[in-house]
Amino acid sequence: MSNFVPLETIDRRALIRSLALGLTAMGAMDVEAAQHVHVETGAEKAKNGIYKVKAFTAGEYTTIQHLAVLIVPADSVSGSALDAGAPEFIDTLASQNVQIANIFHGGLAWLDAEMRKRYQATFAAAKPEQQTRMLDALVEAGRELAERQSEELVYQKSPIYRDFTGYTVRRANELGAGVAFFDWVRKMTVDAFYTSPIGFKDLNYIGNQALGKYTVPTEAMEYVMKRSPFA
């Protein structure tokens, strides 16, 4: 078989594509056509029925749903990470990658064990204020850990470090495992939220459009200049 791609194939494909975009004979009309394509591709896919959980037990999934609402709650501007499909997103990736699945299996089990120790209830069954107290503790421990790590970095680079073998850096506190898990559930929940149409709306993101002309609104320019040191 020849590696040569027949010209007709390329031509036809290119033609079909440009027709699809409406960009062959340019002009205002074609910008509208292109805009239509943008909207089409941007439209959220239809959801058929109820989501079927693939990687987690019902209990685990309920906890992930609770966490989604706690991490990104609904407010007057937009819905929550649960509305934006964060649990489905986490479940989908966990079903494709055992490494992610295990981070969540282990992390959720740790969370329930810690909750039982503190409040004699699993995370999902605990009172809302107990859940937030737990998450507050994890955030606080996370900050402390980050500070220590940066101290450790600076210290390891210093010449004293090499000579002072008795020094050991405390790598983690008692919540270390929980901190690592919370970082995972938070980053994936936040990603799922902000990449959704609900998240786009929350941030008021208005790009990804086909425009005939690019203009910058005077209103925005004036707003910023007035508040700048150059006013």
Binding site: T24, H38, Y194, L211, T215
Partner: protein, 571 residues
């Protein structure tokens, strides 16, 4: 490896590589009526499937984190899932090695069009002084050509690929043939005010994007997604703008998945074609041609020449000077960002524009080097605006603000308030930065691989510190707060890792004589009249201007020369 029968067809020219240099070569040569073969180590480009322009994260279940969340483990595509890049710093089965004590990352693109599919499309002409750097400060090497030699070809390249910009008369960054440039965005206008105050020149950016229709390509529709590939070819890519049209002439034959091993020569000291591995069948094949043009990227072309060993050329082709692989350069990179309170609460608008920043800062101290502690200049690129939210966009903000209603509000308020600066500076070629063949390693095609050695010197480190100081001054002048580097970060991240700016050039540099260079001013090897190198390998220096436009112009000039020489019977 099995060897197939040699193709009987003899082409006028065989071009290896389909990026900026190869794309220009096939365009110019087929237009002159030559019969050309083009070899690409990757597959054909299918714009419809490869370009993710206009897509949003929810078009994919993984939202851009890639199958199994690869991006979370640092194993995603180099510039994110939506980028059109096909390739990266690590390619399965195609390794390279790095010498002890060196750091170097080699980006390879393996698809028709190469890196022009994803590149930033910054298109700056070299200045007059850039061609004679040694005359200016006694460092590095002069080019054998001058600005006057290449200027008409900058004109041709700009007129053909299309570059938007404005006429400014800045000596460090000569004007060109420009399409109209889009207006500055709000944060850029603010940057310009700060630059005016500090005496830094800030002008319209120059990018290879058309703002009026050109040769059947539609004007930019300002979706801001050039890095994902442009379906309407409003942003230049060699595949869409040069290779596909050249195929339509009927004089170009494209061989994809063709990994070239070496240039073949005869006893008369002439190149006769190339030997390549057909990746699909894992067989060796030969293409015969009257002229061989390497445009496989600076280091890949160098590798092919080093691997083209014979009794007559025991150290590889064009290597009589021993300089093949030497004086490899990348661009000096450094970045700093800050948050700017004046932007808080701005009425949102569409900041996509024509895909990159609408303003930039060319080197403004070209005549003040005697007052600086580093010899060469840099330009500054601006980042900012309301970009499309993606996987990873808010990880650090989330860590900073905990969780819950407070975090959500803080992320919303902080959206679009950050302005980032990236410096792109000129490196002085040095003897510690080069590539050679690794005697112990071959790739999966059996081809010996490159081993890299690289060192930044004080010239580059001091330039990066000047970038840091300048960016901090600009951020402060805007009333912003610098997201500062700690002492340890400055040590580890104070300058880009060599290779990561993907401006690696040199290796087969051009010069006046065969004693001190590989190529002459027409990208022709001194030692073999029908062998040319039309990519960044030819660069004698690496000015702060991004290399692509100059590769386009040099290739065009070389092809004009080559066609004339063929007519005269000299090649």
């Amino acid at each position: 490896m099995a060897q197939n029968a040699i193709s009987q067809e003899i082409f006028d020219a065989v071009v290896v590589g389909s990026g900026a240099g190869g794309g220009t070569a096939v365009h110019v040569l087929t237009a002159k009526g030559l019969k050309v073969a083009l070899l690409e180590a990757g597959p054909m480009l299918d714009v419809g499937t490869e370009f993710k322009e206009h897509k949003v994260p929810t078009d994919y279940d993984h939202r851009g984190a890639e199958e199994g969340g690869k991006a979370y483990f640092g194993k995603g595509k180099p510039f994110g899932f939506f980028s059109t890049t096909s390739g990266g710093w690590e390619l399965e089965g195609e390794p390279y090695t790095v010498g002890e004590g060196s750091q170097f990352q080699w980006f390879r693109s393996r698809i028709l069009g190469g890196r022009t599919n994803h590149y930033g499309r910054m298109s700056f002409r070299f200045a007059e002084y850039d061609f004679k750097p040694y005359d200016k400060d006694g460092l590095g090497f002069n080019w054998p050509i001058s600005y006057q030699d290449i200027s008409p070809y900058y004109d041709k390249a700009e007129e053909f690929i299309g570059v938007a910009g404005t006429i400014e008369n800045v000596p460090s960054c000569p004007d060109g043939k420009f399409h109209a440039a889009p207006p500055p965005k709000v944060h850029e206008a603010l940057v310009k005010k700060a630059c005016d105050k500090l005496g830094v020149i800030c002008i319209a950016n120059r990018r290879a994007v058309i703002t009026k229709n050109l040769n059947g390509r539609a004007a930019c529709h300002y979706c801001g997604q050039c890095g994902r590939g442009c379906q309407s070819a409003s942003a230049y890519s060699s595949a869409q703008v040069q290779v596909f049209p050249a195929m339509k002439t009927g004089r170009l034959k494209v061989f994809d998945l063709a990994m070239v091993r070496e240039v073949l020569t005869d006893e008369n000291g002439k190149a006769t074609g190339v030997l390549y591995v057909d990746k699909q069948t894992r067989t060796e094949k030969i293409i015969k041609a009257k002229v061989v043009i390497l445009a496989a990227s600076a280091c890949e072309s160098t590798r092919i020449l080093l691997n083209s060993k014979s009794k007559e050329f025991p150290n590889g082709l064009g290597n009589g000077s021993g300089l093949l692989g030497r004086y490899l350069m990348d661009t000096v990179g450094f970045g700093l960002s800050g948050t700017v309170p004046a932007l808080e609460g701005m009425p949102h608008y569409n900041t996509d524009g024509y895909g990159g920043a609408h303003l930039f800062m060319p080197w403004w101290l070209w005549d003040k080097h005697n007052k600086l502690d580093f010899p060469r200049g840099y330009h500054i690129e601006i980042g900012g605006g309301y970009s499309m939210p993606g996987v990873g966009s808010y990880h650090s903000a989330a860590r900073r603000h905990g969780y819950g209603a407070n975090m959500k509000t803080k992320i919303r308020e902080g959206y679009g308030n950050t302005i980032a600066f990236a410096g792109r500076g000129e490196m002085i070629p040095n003897i510690h930065s080069y590539c050679e063949l690794d005697p112990n390693v071959v790739d999966r095609w059996g081809i010996p691989v490159l081993k890299f050695h690289f060192k930044w010197t004080d010239y580059e480190w001091k330039q990066a510190r000047h970038m840091e100081k300048t960016f901090a001054e600009i951020i402060t002048a805007m009333g912003g707060k610098v997201a500062g580097l700690s002492a340890s970060q400055r040590e580890s991240q104070g300058i880009s890792i060599p290779g990561t700016i993907i401006h690696e050039v040199g290796g087969a540099r051009m010069g006046k004589s065969a004693k001190d260079s590989v190529l002459n001013g027409y990208c022709q090897t001194h030692e073999m009249k029908n062998l040319f190198v039309m990519d960044g390998a030819s660069f004698a220096s690496n000015p702060d201007k991004n290399p692509t436009l100059t590769i386009n112009a040099l290739a065009w000039r070389a092809c004009d020369y080559l066609a004339e020489e063929m007519k005269k019977g000299n090649v």
